[in-house]
Amino acid sequence: MIELTQEPIRIESVMDRVKQNTCGAVVTFTGTVRDNFQGKRVLYMEYDAYPEMATKKLAEITSEIQTRWGLADVAITHRVGRVEIGEVVVVIAVASAHRLEAFQACQYAIDRIKKVVPIWKKEFYEDGSSWIDDETKTA
């Protein structure tokens, strides 16, 4: 289950999508908006996305995970638009019979999202703003 949303993400809702009686483990990753970047104070962020390709890439990541770890289920929800400090930007929930696969798959998911999904963040500071979209900032 993949979702891009402009609304606040409820972590438990994402977990509920994958939780099932045959599974003993649900591992979640939550990404939140930090208030600082390279020494500058961040006031808020805006996320831009290429929605048709972002949902496609998120679905591919889900398939990769299910092929590699044979998990029960994966759900990913990512915010787009303006997001305030401390708010949740992304939630990944992975359900599996046992915890090892769930931990590994969840880490894989966030690492892949950060590499291949066409979503970009713009940080707003007191004295201006900056897209985080060149290698000097994303490396």
Binding site: G31, Y47, D48, A49, Y50, E52, M53, A54, K56, H78, V89, V90, I110, I113, K114, K115, V116, V117, P118, I119, W120, K121, K122, W131, I132, D133, D134, E135, K137, T138
Partner: protein
């Protein structure tokens, strides 16, 4: 041939729009498209650009076809 160019993040701000219709010669490939873009938008960065056609990443030699949707993607920062 007519194609659609989609731009995102700083590229979108640079161009002033997220969507441009282009008319390109038959046989134009990605390298040729990028030359056209850099000619029309001189402040477009020199750094390598990731390109997707119809939501799939492609290499610079990929030949374009009528109706293709080409997206110029800066390095991503989601997650």
């Amino acid at each position: 041939m007519k194609v659609i160019l989609r731009l995102f993040a700083s590229y979108r701000e640079l161009a002033g729009t997220g969507r441009i219709e282009l008319d390109l010669p038959q046989g134009t490939d990605i390298s040729g498209l990028l030359r056209t873009v850099r000619r029309d938008f001189s402040s477009f960065p020199d750094a390598p650009v990731h390109v997707a056609v119809n939501t799939e990443f492609v290499a610079s030699g990929y030949e374009l076809h009528e109706g293709d949707e080409i997206a110029l993607l800066p390095p991503v920062s989601g997650g």
